[in-house]
Structures are given as C-alpha cells and as structure tokens.
C-alpha cells in the first residue's frame, strides 16, 4: 500500500519548534537564533548587547556548543540568566534541546531570549528552534565572499551583522561587495555593521532588539 506523505524531512523537529514558539509567545518573549561560523563574535556581541541593554530589557541566553561551559561562564559574569547546552556529536542545536533549557529559565521575567547556536554556517540553517528571527553574524576576517559560499543561510536570515569593523584597515574585506552579495540573495534582510571591540554600530543593533522586543510585548 502506498502512502502519500509530502512532509519535510525535518517535520518532527518543526513540530517541536512550533511548540517552543507557543511557549515564547505565551510569555511574550522575543527570541532570536544567532548563527555564524566559529569565531565570528556571537558571544562578544551578546555580551556587548547585554551591557548596553541591561537596564532596558530583561535578557536571557541559551548557549549551544559542542563542548565546554566557556561561553556560558563568560555571559554568566554579566549577571543575566544563561543555560549552556552541549550538543556533543551534533553540529547544530535542534528544537528538542530547547525545552529542557527553558525549564531552567525564569520565563515570566524575560523580554529577549538569545539562542547562540553552534558555530557552523550549514547545519543550523536546517533546524527551526521556534525563534522569531534568524540573525547571522559574519566578520571581516572571514572574507566578503562568504554569502556566495554559504548562500542558504544568508538567504534565509532576517538580520545579517557584519562584525569586527575595527579590522577594516588591515584586511581586504570589501564591505560594498559583501552588501551587494547579500542584497542580491536576500533583499529583505536588515544589515548592521559593527565592532564589538570599539562599540561602533552597537547602538543601531540594540535599538533593533528593543523595537522587536516591544512589538512582542504590545
């Protein structure tokens, strides 16, 4: 007997992601899934954002890494709630990993939840975690051709951040060319240029976070 299925291969994950999203919406939490290659500066950006926004937004973080608690400890020093997930052999967070982490967070006291995915530009693009927005962080040392090499993740991002702007004078990264590639693939993406080292551009990004968090709460 033949059964027509026509379901995405990740449909089991997507069903759990939808439940996660219901939890986020019920608690009016704005959730971002932050993705990048390893070393692009996700954790640094999260720490800078917490420092800027600590008095304006109640932020919590879920950290995904293959191993170690290094990132959670770095973020924990800012005094906000943080949960570390070690994915072991997996190369990405998956929706089912989020539920147990949420049990450890004070959901009624959070405005923004930042989920820092495992550093990887391929696998995290395939797994919905229940987030509201996908944020991809690229950095100058990676080269301006990254969007052409990993078109899927860049074409599906809601926000693309160009980090390590302070290194512009010593690298041959062509920001105009990078933006052109992004705008070609994904004209709807919002782009922020910033440096976690100098703080340049952080305000614009933080204002976006405040705006989106307010939309969720209203």
């Amino acid at each position: 007997m033949k059964i027509q299925v026509l379901k995405a291969v990740t449909s089991a994950n997507d069903a759990i992601a939808a439940k996660n999203r219901q939890i986020f919406n019920r608690n009016k939490i704005f959730v971002i899934n932050m993705m990048s290659s390893p070393g692009a500066g996700k954790t640094s950006l999260i720490i800078q954002s917490i420092k800027k926004l600590k008095k304006k937004l109640r932020i919590a973080v879920i950290e995904g890494d293959v191993a170690s608690k290094i990132d959670a400890e770095r973020i924990g020093k800012t005094g906000i709630p943080v949960v570390q997930i070690n994915v072991g052999g997996s190369c990405s967070l998956e929706a089912h990993m989020i539920g147990p982490a949420l049990d450890k967070l004070p959901l009624d006291k959070i405005d923004v939840l930042i989920i820092e995915n495992v550093g990887n530009l391929i696998c995290p693009a395939e797994f919905d975690l229940g987030e509201h927005k996908k944020v991809v962080v690229a950095s100058l040392p990676e080269g301006d051709d990254k969007p052409s090499k990993y078109p899927v993740i860049f074409s599906e991002a809601d926000v693309i951040i160009i980090n390590k702007l302070d290194l512009e004078s010593v690298l041959d990264f062509d920001i105009v060319n990078f933006r052109k590639r992004i705008e070609g693939l994904n004209p709807d993406a919002e782009i922020f240029e910033l440096s976690c080292t100098t703080g340049d551009g952080i305000n614009e990004w933080c204002n976006w976070l405040i705006k989106e968090a307010r939309k969720k709460r209203s």
């Binding site: 007997m1 033949k2 059964i3 027509q4 299925v5 026509l6 379901k7 995405a8 291969v9 990740t10 449909s11 089991a12 994950n13 052999g89 997996s90 190369c91 990405s92 998956e94 391929i122 696998c123 693009a125 395939e126 797994f127 051709d145 052409s148 090499k149 078109p151 899927v152 074409s155 052109k180 590639r181 705008e183 070609g184 693939l185 004209p187």
Partner: protein
Amino acid sequence: MHELAITQNLLATVLKEAKAAHAEKVTTIVLVVGELSGAVSDCIQFYFDVLKKGTIAETATIEFKAVAAQLKCRDCGLKFKPENEIWSCPECHKQNIEIVGGRDCFIESMEVEP
C-alpha cells in the same frame, strides 16, 4: 553531519505515518533531496541503516530522488541553474537571485504492508 538528526527526524515521521495507516511493515521510502537542502543522500543512507534496526522499517529501503538547484533572477525573471561561484544571472549578469528550487528535502511517499 546533521544527517544524523535529519535521519532521526525522517524515521520518526515514517514510523508515525505507518502507525496511522495501521501498517506492520515499511518497505520503501521515497525521499526527495534538493541540491540546496543541505542533506547528503549517502549520509542519510548510512544513518538510516543503523537507526532502522528493531523498527518496523528494518527492511525498508530509501529511494532517493535528486532535485537540482534552480535559481531565478529577480530583475529579468530568468530561471537558471547555478554554474558559477557567484550566483549571477546568465542573461542580465545581475546578482539579484532567488532560490526557487532544490531547497527542500521531504518524504514524498512510502510503501507499507498491513
């Protein structure tokens, strides 16, 4: 490497569908794999052979259907296959490109026995 998770998802869906149809055995799964889906057929096959043991899909085989990537130029509307490193329209040479095919990986159908 996320094929392990993809294959776990695949098997969960297959077993759920088989149960809903009151089937006792799954014999074939037709899986459509897009070129831009991020899934590698050989890896899915490898993990499937490990994961299916002890389930009603233990003797099932996967029939893979490859779907090529298809792009569309947002300016002139031309549909084409990506051939160069930088995706640009072969007609108007602009880089305003949308992915219109080959992004999905889905279970099309499956064959079961009662």
